[in-house]
């Protein structure tokens, strides 16, 4: 059910209203799902919109066999003003909402929006942020884990994605929603797939199915016949990620799609001169690995990161070995 969680008058027009959708008993296990932290991450919003339709259909009896057993909340939009502009941040404050948590109850608009989400999710057991890659990059679908304990890895296995990736510590991490959830005792997961400003249905299908499976596995949803399942997943720690940097500045043409497993020395793409088109460099994989992130925007400086490899020799399998 769509509920208003914040209503702030604006200086010149209609009020700014923040919504959440909520289903199920308030005293059960609780899951909060958030998208729309940046104003251009469309895949996340499409995923949460589809999940909301699915949960509404269950509630209305249109999805036979399903029952909602836990408390499920979805927050489709957080940085409302950024969504009005289609940019990752609202130009008025240049504030990345995912560097604004926990925010403040009374403060500048971004702080108030973020704090509203924090207050409404504080009692949850699990938190999922749905997003896509940073500007100019594309991500293969994967789960990011903060402080990945055995419990969290096991939970991640029911999200239906093949790749788990540890979020590296950095000083700004404390301002992220997922890290704040971690500090508040929730199990946080960040699902990332695709690129900003683009709706990619194949990725969204994967994320929707994964989240539904997670809800079944954790008993938030039940089905008369189907049960949630745990999937094979390889998990990569942060210190063994391998960024691939260009040697030359120019235009980067990728030879492979994101999500490809590559061998050491395999060609990933090439850099060509912007003015004359001549070949400046063949970019090759420095290690064997899985291309989890790939440059989308072709203009690159010298030493620009064009891909991130998750190195195969350091991955840890979590299924079927447990």
């Amino acid at each position: 059910m769509k509920q208003e969680i914040l209503n702030i008058p604006t200086p010149f027009g209609e009020p700014l209203v923040l919504y959440k959708n909520q289903w199920g008993p308030l005293d059960g296990e609780a899951l909060s799902i958030v998208s729309g932290l940046q104003g251009d991450r469309l895949n996340g919003v499409m995923v949460t919109s589809r999940l909301s339709r699915f949960l509404n259909d269950i509630e209305a009896g249109r999805e036979t066999g399903y029952q909602i057993r836990g408390n499920i909340q979805i927050f489709p939009i957080v940085n409302y003003k950024a969504w009005e502009t289609g940019n990752p941040v609202w130009n008025f404050d240049s504030q990345d909402a995912d560097l604004t948590f926990p925010g403040m109850e009374v403060g500048e608009l971004a702080e108030t929006l973020c704090n509203t989400v924090i207050r409404h999710t504080a009692e949850s057991d699990y938190g999922i942020v749905v997003q896509s890659a940073e500007k100019h990059y594309e991500d293969a679908p994967h789960v990011k884990l903060i402080d990945p304990s055995r419990t969290r890895r096991n939970l991640a296995r029911s999200l239906g994605l093949a790749v788990g990736r540890e979020v590296a510590e950095n000083p700004a991490l404390v301002l992220n929603l997922a890290k704040q959830w971690d500090l508040m005792g929730l199990h946080p997961f960040i699902l990332s797939a695709g690129k900003p400003q683009t709706y990619q249905p194949q990725y969204c299908d994967l994320l929707v199915d994964g989240i539904v499976n997670f809800m079944r596995s954790q008993g938030l949803l039940s089905h008369t016949r189907e049960k949630g399942s745990q999937q094979e997943m390889s998990f990569f720690d942060a210190e063994h990620e391998c960024p691939v940097l260009t040697r030359e500045a120019g235009l980067f043409y990728s030879d492979i799609p994101v999500g490809t497993a590559v061998d050491k020395g395999q060609k990933l793409g090439e850099v060509r001169d912007l003015y004359e088109g001549g070949l400046l460099e063949e970019v090759t994989a420095p290690e064997e690995g899985f291309v989890v992130t790939l440059r989308e925007y072709p203009m690159v400086h010298e030493q620009e990161c064009v891909a991130v490899l998750l190195r195969e020799n350091n991955r840890k399998w979590f299924w079927p070995f447990g």
Binding site: P11, G107, E108, L109, V174, A249, C305
Partner: protein, 322 residues
């Protein structure tokens, strides 16, 4: 003066992206102390650039006429975020990233992170003490002040006093500081003062001149310069403001803030300092009053406000009401 390039990346368009450091070395032998001055982390904050200009100009003159005055070493980093400075924006325009949220250990290898890390490492390598100069954001105008996080106040307060900056504000720690240049240098044991003044995209020459004079006092007291140039006058002591001595007024309504007060003036408790008005309906939504008696050292300049927005800060004469 020696000009050194500390960061350089070829660009696809032609002109490389470069950051320079200007160094004034000790006249003889090992420098007594090494001080660094940094500006331009946010590309819309111009006051620091002008302050660096004044400083370089003065130090060049001393070096040319009385080189023996240099007992220590000065490094000036006048423009450390050229893409944002050229764009007049707080954030690096191509990536939308805030350079002062990327300091400290960072696993990412994106170009903005590389730049932030190399600037940070260079300052760390060349400094016994640093000064990071900022203007305010688009919204608030500030009296010239040095901001000190409480946990560093014992070491930094005596150093801040040597600058004779009008206000030294000791404030509580917050998560947002953890990824800033000042916090991370202080954490590494390099005492770093953060100057905040004016408003972005503007330069007030008189204010900068006064800060420049204070910096010259600091250089003498730190033993970097042997004596104060004749043209630098004695300066009054700073006012130190502790956390409990700051009161703030926030908007209760969304609208346009019309200021009726002057920055740097004393205000009385409950004195009217402005109004929030509704430009659409033509009504006054609230009279904004001073939260305490004292010095008005922050004042809203960008009139568009949402409920909760900060309008003013007062350095109180007495402890604020509970």
């Amino acid at each position: 003066m020696k000009t050194q390039t500390l960061f350089s990346r070829n660009s696809p368009l032609g002109a490389p992206l470069k950051i320079v450091r200007q160094t004034f070395s000790a006249h003889q032998g090992k420098p007594a102390r090494r001080l660094s001055f940094v500006s331009g982390l946010h590309g819309d904050e111009m006051e620091g650039l002008y302050l660096c200009h004044r400083l370089i100009q003065a130090l060049r003159q001393i070096k040319d006429t009385r080189p023996e005055e240099f007992l220590g070493e000065v490094h000036v980093y006048p423009a450390v975020n050229p893409p944002a400075l050229n764009n007049g924006s707080r954030l690096w325009p191509l990536y939308g990233t805030d350079m002062n949220r990327m300091m400290g250990p960072h696993p990412d290898k994106s170009l903005p992170v590389q730049l932030a890390q190399e600037v940070f490492d260079d300052i760390q390598e060349h400094s016994d003490m640093a000064v990071d100069i900022h203007a305010s954001n688009l919204h608030l105008k500030e009296l010239p002040q040095i901001r000190i996080i409480e946990e560093f106040s014992e070491e930094l307060l005596p150093l801040a006093r040597q600058t004779h900056t009008g206000i030294i504000w000791i404030h509580p720690m917050a998560g947002v500081f953890e990824s800033t240049l000042g916090y991370n240098l202080n954490k590494l044991g390099i005492p770093t003062l953060v100057i905040e003044t004016g408003i972005c995209l503007r330069i007030e020459p008189k204010t900068v001149d006064r800060l420049f004079q204070g910096i010259m006092h600091l250089l003498v007291k730190q033993g970097v310069l042997a004596s104060l140039p004749e043209e630098i006058p004695p300066l009054p002591d700073s006012r130190v403001v502790y956390p409990r001595e700051v009161s703030q007024a926030c908007a209760k309504h969304s609208g346009l803030f019309i200021s009726q007060a002057s920055l740097g003036h004393r205000v009385g408790e409950d004195e009217i300092i402005g109004q929030v008005v509704d430009p659409v309906e033509g009504v006054v939504l609230e009279q904004v009053t001073a939260p305490d008696t004292g010095l008005l050292f922050t004042l809203r300049e960008q009139p568009t406000v949402h409920a909760g927005a900060l309008l003013a800060r007062v350095a109180c004469d007495l402890e604020p009401r509970p």
